[in-house]
Symmetry: C2
Subunit: 433 residues, 2 copies
Amino acid sequence: MLRIITQQADVIAELQRICDRTHDDQVLHKEATVREVLQAVKRQGNKAVLHYTAEFDNQTLKPEELRVTGSELDTAYQQVSQELLAAIRLACQQIEAFHRKRVPKSWVEFGDDDVVLGKRYNPVDCAGLYVPSGRSGYPSTVLMNAIPAKVAGVPRLVMVTPPGAGKAISPAVLVAAQEVGIQEIYRVGGAQAIAALAYGTETIPKVNVIAGPGNIYVTLAKKLVYGTVGIDCLAGPSEVLIIADETANPVHVATDMLAPAEHDPMAAAILLTTDAALAKNVQVAVERQLVDHPRRIDTEKAIAHYGLIVIVESLDAAAELANEFAPEHLELEIQDPWELLPKIRHAGAIFLGDSTPEAIGHYLAGPNHTLPTSGAARYASGLGVETFMKHSNIIQYSQSALQKVAGAIDILATAEGFPSHADSVRRRIQREE
Amino acid sequence: MLRIITQQADVIAELQRICDRTHDDQVLHKEATVREVLQAVKRQGNKAVLHYTAEFDNQTLKPEELRVTGSELDTAYQQVSQELLAAIRLACQQIEAFHRKRVPKSWVEFGDDDVVLGKRYNPVDCAGLYVPSGRSGYPSTVLMNAIPAKVAGVPRLVMVTPPGAGKAISPAVLVAAQEVGIQEIYRVGGAQAIAALAYGTETIPKVNVIAGPGNIYVTLAKKLVYGTVGIDCLAGPSEVLIIADETANPVHVATDMLAPAEHDPMAAAILLTTDAALAKNVQVAVERQLVDHPRRIDTEKAIAHYGLIVIVESLDAAAELANEFAPEHLELEIQDPWELLPKIRHAGAIFLGDSTPEAIGHYLAGPNHTLPTSGAARYASGLGVETFMKHSNIIQYSQSALQKVAGAIDILATAEGFPSHADSVRRRIQREE
């Protein structure tokens, strides 16, 4: 049963517990396993990759079976329906259109005395895209990973995804990959996939950035390899926080709470509402919708452990609690969502009004669905074109411009005890040889 | 003696060794120490902070001495010269002017059927700024950390810096902090400072993002707390890579190679030149400049271990090697630096021409001096306003817009096995209660 508490109760502590669910001791235990997998793949390459694939995914592969073949790629198109292909193409189009807006562009500006300052943006050379496995694969995640990389101009895209029964990869995933121009796909998942992308193996190339959401093992592995490679963000188990008033539809709110929960037993679903009647109705609706839910066990587990309804005193109080939690997904199911919006500081994505369920953002509204979880929205953004780009500062001074600031640099460098810094300017000014 | 090798020799392996100097086994050993410090501070707060300050910085503090007092802040202004204050103010002005350019701005766009999409940018609530200690403190690092945070609009800035002899903090650092509006300063450095900012203690607040360069312990600590908080980038021991042709001045090149080296015995200095005579002259000039160098021992150590001159066949070959190395600082000391620039893909900052020594960027050209090192420029940018901001995706659909994409979402959600995702749209379209 989805719990209802009031703001007077220990709300902060409860929200903190749910937010920190991926930081607890059980997770630290998993970190040891992940560390072992990383070390093994770093040292033994393919051998370790295949070992853990057998152990965790129950699939015994030969090294030459790691890469998905051209004929598998071709066959995939015959295995998906025309309707699914059309839906994938619609999603592609909308996601690409959104990601093409406000792409960082190189610039230089010319100042006095021929000073030139600017930034040059470049894509990374090679990106690794992680696509988790699912009952039927997640083509949407392929698009959300690959399209920003493609828009960024990354020349080489490498995809990894765990093999299912019979070593197979979902045809929908293979079709989605080809729709965005990815041909290089390896059947490997979990921490061993992240390790392979970070360190490289005999078969799988070392990449510069690893992007994509995953379960707790994948998320821990990404955190640990950060520094060897770049990563998008720590996109762990999904979460939704809904702020609702008396105008909200309890059946819609309940469905939206079950949506992240059906992803993962560690997912979180929180409702903050000013309306006690709505709270009760959502509680009942969640129970009712769980009865026949095809993923009932996992979904119920998430709702039981990390589900919560809080009756709040005001929408402002709800906004403040939402900022504390910094949810991956925030839904504003209230009369005037635009009025509350300026009070929201921390959230991965914000969905306004009853006609905007989180699912629309998950599949095809355009913005990315790989978003910071577990409070990371306090400091991080979701996956985007910027994930695959970085800039170099550009500086050019002229002799006369250097002359004008030489005194100040000399004073600062001398104060900091850096004689060669001071000399590097002094010698140029004095034209010393 | 600074070694000279030719491109035919094992250049790739040598550059790799230098680039990876912070990833070797000795560093892994330090990681164990850092992990212990982090755990202790997380569990014991101030007690552990004070313990490690006594152990590593030789300063025995009481908890109430951690925070720099108002009277220390006041006194600092009387302890710095008017010239230094003027230089700090000039640097402030130029750094702020640069960082105010192209600051990310929130946007929304209105599409067909009343669809609204956009991004909202917000600063983090609280930023922690690390300023390493030095013989006389590093006021420049205060400015480079704090100004982007201030431009981003971060409401609370907390600075940490290790106490020197007599528990003192450099007056220049305290003045620079006040010039950019920082009043909250704690005398703590090293991994214990990073831990305090990441987890919070009885005295030091938990922040959302930690920025600033540091030695290998600080850099390792930042890497390990990433995920609990955000970080700017892994800005470890400094490095310069200079591409020079026969027009370069060997004395200037030599001085610019000593500049990072005088920072840290783990700093790196590399020259790639097409001109064998220049190589020899730089080698001699480095030797000569080292003779009376006030930081000779550390500087010589860096040059001996991580200094290198490579004679290359062409400037294009040099650009390709530079991309492989992805240096923190890249100087183009060649006839036409703008011609080679488009071939440079990976570098933290690029300095063009003989009148642009790295020192000018270090102090006051405007762009940030906290930049990715050890190859991180392959995927990361330097510290900037973006370090302290993040965005939320904004989505609002109308009932009629939802209706048009409902079929596609239903197909995708069903293909991925997510019934509640499908239901969340279906129930809204059918106006089901």
